[in-house]
């Protein structure tokens, strides 16, 4: 019941947003998604930085292969059989696709303006690119379909209004935003059961996604003591506490346990 009321309210909100007519246009995806850096209003020398590497112990489970034989157009985009991206391990047990964000320590009441550059979510070869990413509340996400077939994008969210839109043709785009902080919002495609993406919605720009080598960096942090939390779709979460004074750069390495 409550959820429904929210959805209605959220609906009205979305209506007002859409009515501004933000008809999305195709844009080139930004390089390896480090939204925090690109979207930090106070970017640059000011503020401290947290960098680190995400690793995991144990053996990474094998990613199941995806049978795309019923989607010739997607299958054609791969030389080898594509697999899911549940655990993307780098050299030396580096762990990619981990969402790292400051879960506590950012002074309450401090507000940050969302960057105007949209995050592009590309559906290409019947997979989501990127697989894990972060946005700020109110920041545009531009969903685009690069496959000549139907994808539907269903957002399963608790704090945000769920949506379910579809893109039958290649080149179609749709812009959406999230109204409330939520880690994580799940995106899925019901036409292709294997397609999943995860969005971390944050009120501040202090978040990052670990790269193929497991490294990440959160910049522009004002002095203070922060709890950073790392989220992985299979391995759960890890936290660490970091104290920043001035413009120094601290390292925080986090390690997950593969079970």
């Amino acid at each position: 019941m409550k959820g429904r009321i929210f959805s209605v309210v959220g609906g009205m909100f979305l209506l007002t947003v859409c009515s501004k007519g933000d008809r999305g246009t195709v844009q080139a995806a930004p390089p390896a998604p480090q939204p925090a850096v690109s979207s930090d209003p106070t970017a640059g020398a000011a503020g401290g930085t947290i960098t680190g590497k995400i690793k995991f112990t144990g053996v990474a489970p094998k990613n199941p292969a995806i049978d795309m034989s019923e989607e010739a157009a997607c299958k054609a985009k791969y030389k080898t059989t594509p697999t899911e991206e549940n655990v993307v391990a780098g050299p030396a047990n580096a762990l990619a696709n981990v969402f790292i964000y400051v879960s506590a320590g950012v002074p309450a009441g401090q507000t940050f303006t969302a960057p105007t550059t949209p995050v592009v979510l590309d559906q290409n070869g019947c997979r989501y690119h990127p697989h894990v990413f972060g946005v700020m509340v109110g920041q545009n996400i531009e969903i685009k379909n690069s496959d000549p077939l139907l994808h539907n994008i269903k957002a399963i969210a608790k704090k945000n209004r769920p949506f379910n839109v579809s893109q039958p043709n290649a080149g179609m785009t749709k812009t959406v935003t999230f109204a409330a902080p939520e880690v994580m919002v799940n995106l899925e495609c019901n036409v292709h059961g294997w397609m999943h993406a995860y969005v971390g919605v944050r009120p501040d720009p202090f978040y990052a996604v670990s790269g193929p080598d497991g490294s990440f960096s959160i910049t522009g942090l004002p002095p203070g003591t922060y709890t950073i939390e790392a989220w992985h779709e299979k391995f759960g979460t890890q936290t660490a506490t970091v104290t920043i004074a001035g413009t120094e750069s601290k390292t925080a390495n986090l390690t997950f346990a593969a079970h």
């Binding site: 959805s7 609906g11 949506f163 379910n164 080149g171 179609m172």
Partner: protein
């Protein structure tokens, strides 16, 4: 409730003295059954147009999948992308086309307009039994329609579960993708049901109690008989839909689980309830058409209706059988196959009364003296098209043959042959026929004839090929048939259908023009332009408020005494004409007060 307890007994009685009324009382909040009928006419013609516009978009998508819809740019991004109709919008289109056409166009056009307009006029009453309830019934219907329409302006668009609203798709927003509008559908249907029940209570009471002296049961015109039986169907069927819609609404809002299998609910329960209403509804949509067509064919043939009594019993028979066939919509639903067998037999039996009606219409024309005025043309069109619709139904009634045809375009063809070829042709006959009594002018004959012929041709070009692509296996409500190898070869036919559909839609503007133009410039009508026998033609054009009040006409004979020998040189003999040999009807002795 209170209004029942309060409405004046003799309907128009309290208005019988014709005090001049304000515009509002006279045309907006009128309690005059004729004005209410006309209000229904304009409103439901509007919804007919809406339904048509939706149909055109459906045809565009099916004929030219993936091509940008002309003028689609004006639609919001949630419906089209780069002008291309999105799948979620497409299923809104099919849902709302069905909903509007069935609930807000055809049903009110037949029942709301003509039950209101004809019952008192043809039975010699001064008004409905409960004029105020009658007014409410109209305004509730309008409100229901607007609630339904508002769905399109909700953030996630109109309802998306098909006009049959099969649960759990309709009950769960996470499956349909529509949150608010799904609830609006349920609410709108509950309101509409209330309106229909109010109307039907009125019609039934009026037919039983407000007949002029001498208007015995078997002197009632078939149109009134049909509308009477229809009202009975509506009174018994719509509350069931209301009940179902309320359960659906509760599932959607307060978290009940009627149709949610997870908690022990039953999806099939919705289908049983819906079709228990839905099949009688099919006859609500066709019986009045049959009745009015009977009147018009008798008039056009200048001949008494062939087998009046069996026509009456055929109507009753169809209505009765209508209650025990709902399961034939569910042959593939996983319902117990044994039930399927019984439903198949009862369904096939409906062919019998239907055949009686068709052959009796033929018998009426046989050795007649046919006048091809526009109503007659459309009535003949009705007979030939309804025949196709009825016969194509036999294919689906035979359960094994239904397996490949169920939920394909074959069904779409069948139901359009009944609802368009049947009901709508009957309306194209009825509207010009009673137009003079409504507005005092005739609709233009020439335009009418052109409209009939073009409609007839394009209509068949549109819907007949649907049988073939249905046999080919094209499923209903699919957004893009071309992704299926077995449907690709049929695409040219789909395009042909679309072109014909656009033409068919365009032609309807002839009718709209004729209708509106004639309001002001139509030729003034004589009191009885069709030389008909009905009581309504004894009134001036347009019929005054209160009809015959304070006096009441006497009825001397049945409604179809065309070319009767005693008529002399005239070939018609109105029910109200008193011949020297006629004696005035004696009102039955008043029953003692309980």
């Amino acid at each position: 409730m209170t209004s029942v307890a309060h409405a004046k007994p003799a309907g128009g009685a309290h208005d019988a003295h014709h005090a001049p009324m304000s515009f509002w009382r006279k045309y907006i909040f009128s309690t005059d059954h004729k004005i209410i009928g006309i209000q229904f006419l304009f409103v439901s013609l509007f919804f007919l147009l809406v339904g048509g516009l939706l149909a055109m978009q459906i045809r565009w998508q099916l004929g030219f999948p993936g091509k940008p819809l002309p003028g689609g740019g004006i639609l919001p991004e949630s419906m089209v992308s780069g002008g291309v109709i999105l799948p979620e919008y497409y299923i809104q289109l099919v849902t709302m086309h069905g909903t509007f056409m069935v609930f807000f166009a055809i049903m009110p056009l037949l029942v709301g307009v003509y039950a209101n307009f004809l019952i008192p006029l043809k039975l010699g009453g001064h008004d409905m039994a409960f004029p105020r309830i009658n007014m409410w019934s109209f305004w509730l219907a309008l409100v229901a329609g607007l609630i339904m329409l508002s769905g399109f302006f909700m953030p996630d668009g109109a309802p998306r579960a098909g006009w049959t609203m099969y649960a759990p798709l309709s009950a769960r927003p996470d499956l349909s993708g529509a949150t608010i509008s799904q609830k609006l559908w349920s609410i709108s249907i509950v309101v509409l049901g209330l309106s229909s029940v109010m109307g039907s209570v009125n019609y039934i009471t009026t037919v039983i109690n407000h007949r002029a002296p001498g208007m015995t049961w078997f002197r009632m015109p078939l149109s009134v008989w049909a509308l009477f039986i229809t009202a009975i169907l509506a009174v018994l069927a719509l509350p069931v839909l209301q009940g179902a819609a309320i359960m659906l609404l509760f599932d959607q809002t307060i978290g009940t689980h009627f149709f949610d299998p997870g908690a022990g609910g039953q999806p099939l329960l919705w289908q049983h309830l819906f079709w228990f209403f839905g099949h009688p509804e099919v006859y609500i949509l066709i019986l009045p058409a049959m009745g009015m067509v009977s009147d018009i064919i008798a008039n056009g043939s200048r001949k008494p209706i062939f087998g009046y009594h069996s026509m009456v019993f055929a109507i009753i028979g169809i209505a009765f059988l209508g209650w025990i066939v709902w399961g034939h919509h569910m042959f593939m639903s996983g319902m117990n196959p044994t039930l399927g067998s019984t439903f198949m037999v009862s369904t096939l039996l409906i062919a019998v009364p239907s055949a009686i009606k068709v052959f009796n219409w033929l018998g009426t024309m046989w050795r007649g003296n046919l006048r091809f005025h526009v109503p007659m043309l459309n009535a003949i069109g009705f007979v030939s098209m309804f025949t196709i619709g009825g016969l194509s139904g036999i294919f689906m009634a035979a359960t094994p043959v239904d397996i490949p045809l169920h939920d394909t375009q074959f069904i779409v063809a069948h139901l359009h042959y009944v609802l368009f070829g049947g009901s709508l042709f009957a309306l194209f006959a009825a509207i010009p026929y009673w137009y003079p009594k409504m507005f005092g002018r005739m609709m233009h004959e020439g335009i009418g004839k052109v409209h009939f012929w073009l409609t007839f041709v394009f209509y068949n070009m549109t819907f007949f090929p649907m049988h073939i692509i249905g046999m080919g296996g094209q499923m209903r409500r699919i957004y893009d048939p071309t992704i299926y190898d077995f449907l690709k070869p049929q695409q040219p036919l789909n395009e042909f259908i679309s072109y014909s559909a656009f033409a068919l839609f365009a032609v309807q503007f002839l009718f709209a023009f004729n209708f509106l133009w004639s309001l002001k410039f139509g030729k003034k009508a004589s009191q009885n332009p069709w030389e008909d026998n009905g009581l309504e033609w004894s009134l001036p054009n347009p019929a005054p408020h209160g009809n015959w009040a304070p006096k009441t006409p006497n009825v001397y004979r049945g409604p179809y005494e065309f070319s009767a020998p005693e008529a002399g040189d005239k070939d018609y003999l109105p029910q109200y004409t008193k011949l020297p040999t006629d004696r005035d009807p004696v009102p039955a002795p008043l029953p003692a007060t309980h």
